[in-house]
Symmetry: C2
Subunit: 237 residues, 2 copies
DNA sequence: GGACCCCACTTCCTATAGGATTTCCGGAGT
DNA sequence: ACTCCGGAAATCCTATAGGAAGTGGGGTCC
């Protein structure tokens, strides 16, 4: 019998360089400190991350899928331009369809994940409280804090998709995830938005606890439309 | 002013090696003559296609997304195993959601693409006729013929998504495209299937011509469920 | 006879190098 | 002042080479 913990620790490292490079670049993009339209040179990135261009190249192919970067053959990659009005509308339509279907499928089989949903909801609340508090203190909200808030928000939705139990729906939701993330960053403006979003989640959760599928989907529709409304309100002041 | 046609002809070639490699491997996989689970060696593929491993590697990352190949870090790529019963069911659920939403969105704005839909429908019919004729002659239907049939079938659906005008829906539909293709190959069994599928398309088209959104979505639902029924009927004889 | 180990082969993964193309910038011409 | 052009630097793209890990087979020991 050999030691098991060292082996498992090694397995965590055993993911190939490509995946780590992918996560690093993704994180960099989601931080939001890169100018849309600016070039993403493969060689430069490789030097910055201290790896060879090949894994960077593979990661970029993967990133292309998320819509965060665009590629022009023989001309390289660029940071994707910000979402236009029309694109935004389409994104909401697509997300509405996905979230409604996921809620519909999840409602009758939500029982096993109710605990997880409640936990995610409480975490969401805690993060929201901190964000609101920081907002009232001053205009500068720490990046870490908003990241946590987004993560908690996303976790709630992911739990619903997990309950729905359809791998293709989950995949589509993940695909939209990066775009949605960019969107959320633009939406987080006032304290009321945070409060409203949390309240809307609460109504979805309550309906799922009652096992009321119709109410749950209706609450989810209200939530997504609420986000849409707040989004366009911020878009054009 | 410089000559324009030569330049445009050159642009067609200007897609980088990666895209061409991707299409070649994709075509190879969709032909269906590769054993599920068999290994896809990068070096071997590179030698077969007479290119270096790098573009092959990029193409494989892209293929991984389609679900046709699976990757295990440091162990290479394999042809994805055939779809299980559960996976099949989830695929149908996801596709049903997409096609219904696309039909719903397309119905009020189908007018400009009706001609294209009718053309696709006629082509579908022509291909169906040829397939039926070949089936009645003998058990062996030429690959080329079935390919054309699938292409015509897919074109009809794509036209609806184009009319829907949501780029994310189109993207999701394309993502499922490869899986759906594998599915269709398994479904094409009897002459009645071909006839039924075409008739179901016809009812969708008729509803769209009348501008009746509810009837169109209902007809589309009937179509997808019809495919599902025929699929599981063939699955377990 | 079965299990274990060692070794050669294959394959993946990464790094480096070179050719082709694009981009950028300064200068000449109109 | 604007346009056009030419060359240099940066960049993409592809090819080749080598180290690291996995895979399979044969031999040996129990």
């Amino acid at each position: 019998m050999t030691a098991q913990l060292p082996l498992r620790a090694r397995d965590l490292e055993r993911r190939g360089l490509r995946d780590r490079v992918y996560e690093l670049i993704l994180e960099m993009l989601l931080e939001g400190d890169v100018e849309p339209g600016s070039r993403l040179s493969i060689d430069t990135l490789a030097k910055q991350l201290d790896v060879s261009p090949t894994p960077v190249r593979e990661a970029m192919v993967q990133l292309e899928r998320t819509g965060l970067v665009t590629r022009e053959a023989l001309k390289g990659y660029r940071v994707a331009p910000p979402l236009g009005r029309e694109q935004l509308s389409e994104l909401f339509d697509a997300r509405l369809m996905l979230e409604l279907e996921a809620t519909r499928l999840a409602a009758p089989r939500a029982q096993p994940v109710l605990d997880e949903l409640r936990r995610a909801h409480r975490l969401h609340q805690a993060c929201a409280d901190r964000v609101v508090e920081a907002m009232e203190q001053g205009p500068d909200v720490p990046v870490r804090m908003t990241q946590d808030y987004f993560e908690a928000d996303g976790a709630f939705h992911r739990a619903i998709f997990a309950a729905a139990g359809n791998r293709y729906l989950i995949g589509m939701h993940e695909d939209l995830g990066a775009m949605t993330h960019r969107l959320r960053q633009a939406v987080l403006r006032g304290t009321s938005d945070v409060r409203e979003a949390h309240a809307e989640h609460g109504r979805v959760l309550a309906a799922l606890e009652r096992g009321d599928a119709d109410a749950a989907t209706a609450a989810m529709r209200a939530h997504i439309e609420g986000v849409r409304t707040r989004s366009v309100r911020d878009e054009t002041p």
